[in-house]
Point group: C2
Chain length 274, copies 2
């Protein structure tokens, strides 16, 4: 399985601590060695870093682990190739622009043979089921909220996205995180955990490497953030599992909208597939 990690924070924050643990899953503590990527929203812009090397040994991942990039929303992914070879074009997160915002998407799951019909302005560069599904999501957002109409609210976008996510999730596991820089959207098909952090900040212990950090001095008492990950990243905090069919819209480190499609089901993970 691929793995996801993302953060929404009220104040721009660095994720070097979390990424230090998460990137170990890219070939060392877990078998996801087929490339990785991370997106940082910075102001209106977004920087996406990709590498087709294992995250645990990539020199670019070392740069990210040691460089404090402040962001309100970050999305990271380590890949276990299931559909599409190991290549830069197949590294998540994928990025497209809609309505002058950079949209970023990362997926954990497997949509098997399903490919939605693409007739809009978005087409995959690589060969993953994930990028194809992302293009369809963007196409359908664009169709539902065409440019001659006012920009939809995040609630309107979330409502439509949750319906689209439930539709795709009938074809396979569709755990994903998606953002436009304002809102972090997350959908759980089979496995996704959430953690809310706020004052008082703990001394957090990473699960994937021998590192404990006292987060108190690193944060203001008013700071708060929400983390989403395929598996908990720390061992001494209360990560909660999302339910199958849950869809979240998160802004500024707080959940703003939470819906549930009870008909969504988790698919069994076939051997060698994610």
């Amino acid at each position: 399985m691929c793995q996801l990690f993302s953060m929404s924070s009220q104040a721009a924050a660095t994720i070097t601590f979390s990424f230090t643990g998460f990137s170990e899953r890219g070939g060392r503590t877990a078998d996801h060695p087929d490339g990785w990527g991370i997106a940082f929203y910075e102001g209106a812009g977004c920087r996406v870093f990709h590498d087709d090397q294992p995250a645990c040994s990539s020199t670019l991942a070392t740069y990210i682990r040691t460089t404090p990039i402040k962001s309100n929303i970050a999305i990271a992914h380590v890949r276990k190739a299931t559909q599409g070879p190991t290549a830069v074009a197949n590294c998540h997160p994928f990025q497209r622009e809609w309505r002058g915002q950079p949209w970023v998407f990362a997926h954990n799951g497997d949509l098997r043979d399903w490919r939605a019909p693409l007739s809009g302005p978005y087409h995959p560069v690589g060969t993953t089921d994930s990028e194809h599904a992302f293009c369809w999501l963007m196409q359908e957002l664009n169709a539902r909220f065409p440019m001659h109409l006012p920009t939809p609210s995040f609630e309107e976008m979330a409502t439509h996205l949750s319906t689209l996510a439930a539709e795709i999730a009938t074809h396979g596991n569709f755990n994903f995180v998606l953002s436009n820089g304002d809102t972090l959207f997350a959908h759980c098909s089979s496995t996704l955990y959430m953690l809310a952090r706020s004052y008082p900040f703990p001394v957090a212990t990473l699960k994937d490497c021998d590192l404990r950090v006292d987060l108190g001095p690193l944060n203001a008492t008013t700071d708060k953030m929400v983390f989403i990950a395929t598996e908990p990243l720390t061992t001494n905090e209360s990560w909660t599992a999302l339910r199958t069919g849950e869809f979240l819209a998160i802004q500024g480190g707080a959940i703003r909208m939470r819906t549930h499609h009870p008909q969504t089901k988790a698919f069994p993970v076939a051997c060698g597939l994610s």
Copy 2:
């Protein structure tokens, strides 16, 4: 003025040598300290690195200078902010997807008050004239070659792009490089130089720092590449100035098409503008 640098190479090649000199212009040997970026095409994919720090001192630029990333087409830019503040969203190269290919664009010039009407699927994330013009180029490509028709040849794309470039160039200096990973397109409004390198490869001396490298052992006798830059990067090679109105289509380190719009004129560079 901003500065551009790009390479098209027959065999995938690194540009650490050239970028070592070019990045000095981001705040040390020239006054372009307001961010930088570089795009590397790798297979079907493309990696774009951005930083809003000066290229001469950016730790990410150090990573690029010291990491041999092999690419057939690379595009780099150092920025002197004229329209839009220093920000990640305003760093070139800009990127959009069209027909399943990642298109990348970097501009040197100033289009003053001109903003083309955007009614298609591409809209700027930042506030530069450059990204706006890029969105219009992509919109017009998409309008001329709609998705229900076969993918146009590079000659068809080049012919249309050269006409669009000439149209934009009536509003201000529009020196740019643009690529889809297959072809490197370049347009000269006021200042752009070209260098073709092939066997026998020289001992090249950078203009911007004290570095000489014997390129012979680093290249095969069959290798060839074309470089485009705002100013020559080396002091002992024959860089040739493109003419105002020239448009090139370059593939695999060779010029495949060359057109000239004699009516295009260079605009005087206003003090403080690029």
